[in-house]
C-alpha cells in the first residue's frame, strides 16, 4: 500500500492507473493520479482543526478559508459524514476521526480510495455506517481498496478479494465463491484459529478486587473532569473478565489506575486480599500484576534497546534480572533466549533492538516476559491488535493456558469476537462507568456494540446502526462535571 501511495519505491513491477502506466515517487504523485489513502493509524494533527487537517496539502483547491469550509460541508452532507470543520481534532472521537480521514481523501477528488484496516477501532454499528458510506462512494463510481484482517467484513463489503501473504499475492477470489474459513486458510496457510474457550476454570477465590474506583483528571483547558466513576468488579482465579467499550471511554485510564500510573481519587484496589490502592507501580507489579499494554511501542518496549534489556522492563527488581541492587545481565540474557525459544519470537538473536522486530514478534516477546513472572493477574489491553493471525493464535493459547493454571485476566479489546471468545464474564464501559454486564455465552457482537454506544438503557437491539446512535465523545452532548 505504501508503494501504491508513493511512500515507498518498488524494486520492480508496474502500476497502472486508468490503463496508463505510472511511476509514483511521492504521495503527491499518487494524489495527482486520484489515489487517496486512509492509513491504518490516523494521520491527523491533533492540535489543528478538522478543516486545517482536511485542506492541508490541497490548499490550492479551495483555499484555507470560507471556500474550503463550504466545500467540506458540501462533501460531508453529500456522503452523510457529519463532519464539523472547526473543532480541534483532539476534541473529536475515533469514529469522527475516521470520517475526517475519508473526507480528506474525497476533498482531493480521489477516484481510488485505499482504506487500511479502517474498522479496527470501530464498533459494529459504526462499521455498518462506514460500509454504508463506502457503498455510496462505490455507487458514485469510485474505486475502494479495503484492507482488513476481519474476514467477515471483507466478505460483506468487497466485490473482489485478493489475499496477500508475506508480500506475495496468494489468491484472488470473489466473495460469493468463498467462505471465511477458506479465506483464513489462504491467509495463514492453515485453518483459522478462533478465540473460543468454553470449559470454565473460574474459582471463587478473588484475585483483583476493584471497588468504588473514581478518577478525575484535568483536560487541556485545565478543567476537572470525571474520567472513571463507580467502578466495581472482582476477578477470581482462573477468570477472564472482558471489558467492552468504544475507545476513549475510560478503559485506558482504568488500566493505568490499576497499574498505578494514575492516582484515583476514590475507591480501593485489592490484589489477592491486600490493598494496593496507594502502592507504587513497581510494588504492584512485584506483587503479581502482569501487563500487556495497549500500545506496545509506547508502553511495552524500549525500541532502541536490545531484546534482553527489554526482557527486564517492568521486572528489573525480580530474578533473573537482578540480584539485589545489581543487574544480572547474564541471567537476563539466558532467560531471553528461553522466551525467544518458547514463545517463538522470530529474531536472529537477542542483541537486536526490539524496534527491528515485527509487531507480532514484539507482542510475543511482551507476552513471554509477562508470563515468565507468573503473574496473579494479567491486564491485557488489546493483546492481539495489529498482530498477524499466527501470532494471534499463539497469544490466545497462552492466555488460555495461564487461565487454566489459575491466572486472573482483565481483558480489554476492541475485537468483540476475541472478547466474547476468551472472556468468562463481560462488562461494558461507557463514559467512565461500567454500564452493563453480559454473558459471553449468549451475547452477540451486535448487542455488545449497542451497549457500547451508550444506548443500553433503551434495551437491547433497538438501536439502529446509523448516525443518530454514533457516540460523540467530546462533542458535549451534556454538561460535564466540574471540580
Amino acid at each position: 500500500m505504501k508503494i501504491l501511495y508513493g511512500m515507498q519505491r518498488p524494486d520492480e513491477g508496474v502500476i497502472t492507473v486508468d490503463g496508463e502506466q505510472v511511476v509514483l515517487r511521492s504521495p503527491a504523485d499518487a494524489i495527482a493520479r486520484g489515489i487517496g489513502m486512509v492509513h491504518q493509524h490516523f494521520m491527523l494533527a491533533d492540535n489543528l482543526t478538522v478543516l486545517e487537517n482536511v485542506v492541508l496539502g490541497a490548499e490550492k483547491l479551495h483555499g484555507i478559508g470560507a471556500g474550503a469550509r463550504r466545500r467540506i460541508l458540501e462533501l460531508s452532507d453529500a456522503y452523510g459524514l457529519g463532519v464539523r470543520p472547526d473543532l480541534l481534532v483532539e476534541e473529536i472521537g475515533v469514529a469522527d476521526r475516521q470520517r475526517v480521514e475519508i473526507l480528506k481523501v474525497l476533498y482531493r477528488g480521489a477516484r481510488t480510495l485505499i482504506l487500511d484496516e479502517p474498522t479496527a477501532v470501530l464498533v459494529p454499528q459504526e462499521v455498518d455506517a462506514l460500509f454504508g458510506n463506502l457503498r455510496e462512494l462505490t455507487a458514485e463510481g469510485l474505486t475502494v481498496l479495503f484492507i482488513s484482517h476481519k474476514l467477515g467484513e471483507v466478505l460483506s463489503v468487497a466485490d473482489d478479494i485478493t489475499v496477500i501473504r508475506r508480500g506475495t499475492t496468494v489468491a484472488t477470489v470473489a466473495p460469493a465463491g468463498t467462505t471465511p474459513k477458506r479465506l483464513a486458510e489462504l491467509m495463514v496457510g492453515s485453518e483459522l484459529p478462533t478465540p473460543q474457550t468454553r470449559e470454565s476454570t473460574v474459582t471463587d477465590e478473588p484475585v483483583l478486587t476493584v471497588a468504588g474506583l473514581h478518577l478525575s483528571g484535568r483536560d487541556a483547558d485545565g478543567l476537572l473532569r470525571e474520567v472513571l466513576a463507580d467502578i466495581d468488579f472482582t476477578i477470581h482465579r482462573g477468570e477472564v473478565l472482558g471489558i467492552a467499550g468504544v475507545e476513549g471511554n475510560g478503559q485506558a485510564e482504568l488500566v493505568e489506575a490499576i497499574i498505578g500510573i494514575r492516582q484515583p481519587d476514590g475507591g480501593t484496589i485489592a490484589l489477592a486480599g491486600q490493598d494496593v490502592s496507594h502502592a507504587p507501580t513497581r510494588t504492584r507489579r512485584e506483587r503479581g500484576i502482569g501487563y500487556i499494554p495497549e500500545d506496545r511501542h509506547r508502553h511495552g518496549l524500549l525500541l532502541d534497546a536490545p531484546l534482553w534489556e527489554n526482557r527486564m522492563l517492568g521486572h528489573v527488581t525480580e530474578p533473573p534480572n537482578s540480584r539485589g541492587p545489581l543487574l544480572n545481565a547474564k541471567g537476563a540474557r539466558a532467560d531471553t533466549e528461553r522466551i525467544v525459544r518458547e514463545y517463538d519470537v522470530r529474531t536472529p538473536g537477542i542483541e537486536v533492538t526490539a524496534g527491528s522486530l515485527s509487531g507480532g514478534n514484539q507482542q510475543k516477546l511482551i507476552v513471554g516476559r509477562e508470563m515468565s513472572h507468573r503473574p496473579k493477574v494479567l491486564i491485557a489491553a488489546h493483546p492481539t491488535r495489529g498482530v498477524d493471525v499466527g501470532a494471534q493464535a499463539q497469544i490466545w493459547d497462552e492466555i488460555r493456558r495461564a487461565r487454566r493454571e489459575g491466572l486472573a485476566v482483565l481483558l480489554i479489546s476492541a475485537d468483540l469476537d476475541e472478547l466474547i471468545g476468551l472472556s468468562d464474564s463481560l462488562r461494558v464501559m461507557y463514559r467512565g462507568r461500567l454500564v452493563a454486564s453480559a454473558d459471553p455465552a449468549t451475547v452477540t457482537p451486535e448487542e455488545l456494540g449497542t451497549a457500547m454506544t451508550g444506548t443500553a438503557g433503551a434495551g437491547v437491539g433497538t438501536a439502529e446502526p446509523g448516525t443518530e446512535t454514533k457516540p460523540e465523545p467530546g462533542t458535549g452532548s451534556g454538561p460535564g462535571e466540574e471540580g
Binding site: 484459529p193 509506547r298 527491528s356 493459547d397
Partner: protein, 397 residues
C-alpha cells in the same frame, strides 16, 4: 539520548576478547570504531580545506601539533587539563542518558566550587578530613543547584533547558554577591578571592616528570568507574536509561519518572560540583574572580564527542586538551590559534553526523537480518511455523 548507539553500552573490558569471538559483538565493536574514524577524517579534511583557503599550509600545522602534543610535558599538561573536562562531560552525560539536557553544569560547578572554597578556607582540619569535607560541600552545592531545575521539571513541568540556563545567570549573581571583600572573600591586589585553603588540604600530585600529574585525576577516574557501574550494572541505572529511552514505557514498567528526573539532576549536579575541584585543590587553592568559567559548556561538547561513554569521554577530554595545548604552539609558528576553535566545532559536528549515519546503517543491517531470518524460517515452513488450532486442546470446533 536517542543518538545512543548500542555500542555505547557499557561493557567490562575483560569481556572484550570473548566478545570478539561473538560475531554480533565484533560487528558492534567495528561499528563503534568506524564512526569516530569517519568523523576524524572528515574533520581533518574540512579543517585542511579551511586553512588551505585562507592561505595556510594545513599539513605543516598538523605536523606542528602532533609533534608538540606528543612531548612529555605536553602530555602531562593535557592530562591535567582533561580532568575537569572529563568531570564536566560526565555530569552532562548523566543527564543525556535520560534525555535531560543539563546545560547548567557551568553554573553548578561555579556555585559548588565557590562554596567549597569558602568552607575549605574557613576550616583547618587535617587534610584527610578536610578534603572529603570540601568535596562533599561541592557535591551538595552542585546537587542543590541542579536539583532546583530537577524539582521544577518534575513538579511543575518546566523545561530543564530553560531553568538551567536561568540558573547559570542567577548562580553568577549569587557568587558575585558573596565574592566581595568583607563578605566571603578577601582582596589580593586586583584579584578578589576566598580565603586560601590550607596547604595541608590540597590534593596530592603524582611526581611525574617533567611536571606532576594532578592527584585529582583519581576523582575523575572514580567518577568514570561509578558512572559506568551505576548506569550499566545496577537496577537504578537501568531505570534511568529506561526513562531516557522511553518515558511512558518506563512509567508503565514501574519507574517513578518524576523521582528519577530529580535524582538524575541531583547526581548530575553532584558530579558537576566536582568539576571545579581539580582547579581548586590542585591549582589555585581559592575561588577568585580568575576562576575558570565555561567548563560546563566544554563538558557538553565532550559528552557529545565521547557519546556519553565513560571511556569515550576520556578520549574526547584528552583530544580537547590536546587541541588547546597545541593551538597555543601554532601561534609560535605563525598560524592563528583561533583555527583550533574551528577544528573543535568541525570535529563535534562531524562526529555527531558520523555517529548518526553509522547508527542508522547498523539498524538497517539489523532489520535486513531480521527479515532474512523470517524469510528463511517461513521458506522452511518448519518447526517454527504458526501453530494450527490442533495444537490447542481448548479450541472447540
Amino acid at each position: 539520548m536517542s543518538t545512543d548507539t548500542p555500542a555505547g553500552q557499557a561493557r567490562p573490558g575483560g569481556r572484550l576478547l570473548a566478545g570478539l569471538r561473538d560475531g554480533d559483538r565484533r560487528e558492534r565493536l567495528l561499528l563503534g570504531l568506524s564512526a569516530p574514524l569517519l568523523a576524524l577524517v572528515t574533520a581533518l579534511a574540512i579543517t585542511s580545506a579551511v586553512m588551505g583557503l585562507t592561505g595556510d599550509n594545513p599539513f605543516r600545522a598538523f605536523e606542528v601539533m602532533a609533534d608538540y602534543g606528543s612531548k612529555s610535558d605536553s602530555q602531562v599538561w593535557i592530562i591535567n587539563k582533561a580532568i575537569p573536562y572529563y568531570l564536566a562531560a560526565a555530569a552532562v552525560a548523566i543527564g543525556f542518558r535520560m534525555n535531560l539536557f543539563n546545560i547548567g553544569v557551568d553554573g553548578q560547578y561555579r556555585v559548588a566550587a565557590f562554596f567549597a572554597a569558602v568552607v575549605g578556607g574557613a576550616l583547618s582540619l587535617p587534610g584527610v578530613v578536610q578534603i572529603p569535607v570540601i568535596l562533599l560541600t561541592a557535591m551538595v552545592c552542585g546537587g542543590i543547584w541542579a536539583g532546583i531545575a530537577g524539582y521544577l521539571k518534575a513538579s511543575r513541568g518546566v523545561s530543564e533547558v530553560i531553568t538551567t540556563i536561568m540558573l547559570n545567570f542567577i548562580g553568577g549573581s549569587l557568587i558575585a554577591y558573596f565574592l566581595q571583600e568583607g563578605r566571603l572573600a578577601e582582596r589580593d591586589e586586583n584579584i578578589v578571592h576566598t580565603e586560601d585553603i590550607p596547604s595541608s588540604s590540597w590534593f596530592f600530585e603524582f611526581p611525574t616528570s617533567p611536571d606532576p600529574v594532578h592527584g585529582t585525576i583519581l576523582i575523575a577516574v572514580a567518577v568514570g568507574i561509578v558512572y559506568w557501574f551505576v548506569l550499566g550494572r545496577t537496577r537504578f541505572g537501568y531505570d534511568l536509561r529506561a526513562v531516557g529511552r522511553s518515558e511512558p514505557a518506563a512509567e508503565a514498567s514501574g519507574v517513578s519518572v518524576k523521582r528519577t528526573v530529580v535524582t538524575a539532576m541531583l547526581l548530575s549536579g553532584a558530579v558537576a560540583g566536582l568539576v571545579g575541584m581539580p582547579t581548586l585543590l590542585n591549582e589555585s587553592g581559592n575561588y577568585g574572580n580568575d576562576f575558570p568559567e565555561g567548563l560546563g559548556f566544554t563538558g557538553i561538547a565532550i559528552a557529545l564527542l565521547g557519546r556519553n561513554h565513560p571511556v569515550g569521554m576520556g578520549f574526547a577530554a584528552l583530544l580537547w586538551g590536546f587541541l588547546e595545548r597545541t593551538g597555543t604552539q601554532l601561534e609560535f609558528e605563525g598560524y592563528d590559534q583561533e583555527i583550533v576553535g574551528v577544528m573543535q566545532g568541525v570535529i563535534v559536528l562531524s562526529v555527531v553526523v558520523a555517529y548518526e549515519l553509522v547508527r542508522r546503517w547498523g539498524i538497517r543491517r539489523q532489520q535486513r537480518k531480521v527479515g532474512e531470518q523470517l524469510a528463511a524460517q517461513s521458506a522452511a515452513g518448519g518447526p517454527n511455523g504458526p501453530k494450527g488450532p490442533h495444537d490447542s486442546a481448548e479450541v472447540s470446533a
